[in-house]
Amino acid sequence: MTDAPTDAPALALPDEALPDGARPNPFDQVRSSPGAPKPEPILVADEVRRRFGGLTAVDVRHLEVQREAITALIGPNGAGKTTFFNLLTGFDKPDTGSWTFDDRRLEGLGAHKIARTGMVRTFQLTKALARLSVMDNMKLGATEQLGENFFRALLPRLWNSQEKEIEARAVELLGRFNLTHMRDEYAGTLSGGQRKLLEMARALMAQPKLVMLDEPMAGVNPALAQTIIRHVAELRDEGLTVVFVEHDMDVVRTISDWVVVMSDGEIVAEGTHASIVTNPAVIDAYLGAHHGTPMDRAEQDRQLAEAEAAIEAERQAREEEA
């Protein structure tokens, strides 16, 4: 997949259908405040609330996710990012709330039905299917396979040609994710970073409209992370919407079109990366204290550096754990 052929026709489309980059930025007119409306939201969540006993894990009043853009969801540990992911994808049930994806109401649907609408997720704790080969992991991701029906499974000629198409697609994706040499190995033999890649590639096999990646870069070496970032940007340009949770602020800065910040279950800020890093609410969320007095530039920079250092330390701590 090269950029040129996909970009050329896209430029002919009306302005608002275009993702950003050299083209008009869909976020130009969006204000940097929690719950800001987007020109073309693909995912809209309202009043999504989840309590665990006395703790309110998630309390999102309103969130819109822009179509064909990359949205980063950041926030300190325990902010409710993963819980929010779980709620939206049907892996957990909210106490209240409604959300639509591509104008389809999703609340109350099971996880597999939500996945079938085109919203596919990955997991923070990677779920490589250890005793399946890498290729089988990939093939599993493809949707609407004829041979998945019990009776049709007994008649290989019904699904053999489809299986070949799926395999070809899998080979292409494995190439993109630097996993070609592992295709016949058990997924359990992959390293932590490779498992992250496999999980992402497997999710893409489902040809989703939106992927939700939970810490996709954790444990991936920086060089490979750059490759992945490029691929994700390419996928966006081809029409994929991406929401991802990430602690690495470098990654967030390089790739995200829009950043949403969660703290204590609520969305405390939204904006571009540049507007987020100077937002006092975000610094509060990471450092836990806000002095309330107007800050001079030096103080702002100092707190910012502290916040980034804290995030970096956290990331390293997690990497060491993994």
Binding site: H112, K127, R131, T189, R202, A203
Partner: protein, 330 residues
């Protein structure tokens, strides 16, 4: 020591009726546990409901045996649905508890005096297998070679049995090499991952439970039809664990694992039985230590020790892949 008769008995057990019964039971368990990760501790319940389905329908309604077999299969499907609906949404251990309980409940129901007219109570039923033996096309006489000499009746039993095993193996093989099998194996590894890719995990687990249950039920039917009588006492919890032993011996998630496992399991039992019997009879083991009745139980101890050693030195079983065991521990 009469080594000739010991060896003869062992070789006959290798392809005997028990090997067929437990092949089928273990193939079913392989579908459940080896491929899908469903912990079924009540496989004997499926065997019992299949066998009683045949026996009761033939004796009560006087239907042909083949119809009885279909009813037995239908009963096993119903049992799988009944067990699966409440438990398959829960963790694996719930299914284990419910299946073992259900198989015991069914056994006690069949031995209850209240339904004696239909079930025969603890005496069981006879006279339902006539069609099977009438259908034997093999003319009388002695067939076979070496240690394997059979009457026409035994040859008919073994032929039908091994054909059934072969068909079951073929069915499992085709399914496990299809996208259906891929999903089922993926469920064994991680349900949530499969769910996140848009597959209805609950439905696949149910299909697997039904499939393995029906194969087990066919094993139960074969068992009771070929002995031409049925008693509830046969369906204690023990056959389930024999089937597990056979499966582990042969290697899980391997198409031929349960079959070879069952053959070797029963050959080993016959071999140890032969040795102990001979040893007791020839006073190699004094009767003050062990008499011939006790020898029958000691062989299970020996086979148990054998299984322990297998777990230590070859945990993947005969056909299994050691790498898979290592990965499973992660």
């Amino acid at each position: 020591m009469n080594w000739h008769s010991i060896l003869n008995g062992t070789l006959r057990a290798l392809v005997g009726r028990e090997a067929i019964i437990y092949s089928l039971a273990a193939i079913g368990l392989n579908v459940h546990f080896g491929y899908t990760g469903l912990l079924n501790f009540g496989q004997v319940g499926f065997m019992a409901i299949g066998a009683y389905g045949v026996a009761i329908s033939v004796t009560t309604w006087d239907v042909p045996l083949i119809v009885g077999v279909l009813i037995g299969v239908g009963a096993a499907v119903c049992l799988a649905l009944l067990l699966g609906i409440p438990t398959l949404r829960l963790r694996a251990d719930y299914l284990a508890i419910v299946t073992i309980a259900a198989s015991e409940i069914f056994r006690f129901m069949m031995s209850a005096p209240s339904w004696r007219d239909v079930t025969g109570g603890s005496d069981g039923l006879t006279g339902f297998a006539g069609d099977f033996f009438d259908a034997n096309p093999i003319p009388g006489g002695d067939y076979g070679f070496g240690p394997w000499h059979y009457s026409a009746r035994d040859l008919w039993i073994l032929s039908v049995g091994w054909v059934a095993v072969l068909l079951a193996v073929l069915l499992v093989r085709m399914l496990m090499h299809s996208p259906w099998g891929r999903i089922v194996k993926a469920i064994r590894e991680d349900e949530d991952a499969v769910r996140s890719l848009g597959k209805n995990v609950y439905s696949y687990k149910m299909q697997s439970l039904v499939l393995g249950g029906v194969i087990g039920a066919v094993g139960g039917m074969f068992w009771m039809i070929t002995q031409a009588s049925i008693t509830p006492g046969s369906f204690s919890t023990i056959p389930t664990f024999y089937a597990y032993a056979a499966l582990i011996l042969g290697g899980m998630a391997r198409v031929w694992g349960p079959v070879v496992g069952a053959m070797i399991f029963w050959a080993l039992l016959a071999f140890t039985q032969g040795i102990l019997d001979e040893a007791v009879a020839n006073d190699l083991i004094p009767s003050s230590i062990m008499d011939s009745n006790q020898a029958g139980n000691v062989r299970f101890i020996l086979v148990g020790i054998g299984l322990v050693l297998l777990m230590v030195y070859r945990p993947q079983g005969i056909f299994g892949d050691r790498r898979e065991i290592a990965l499973g521990e992660r």
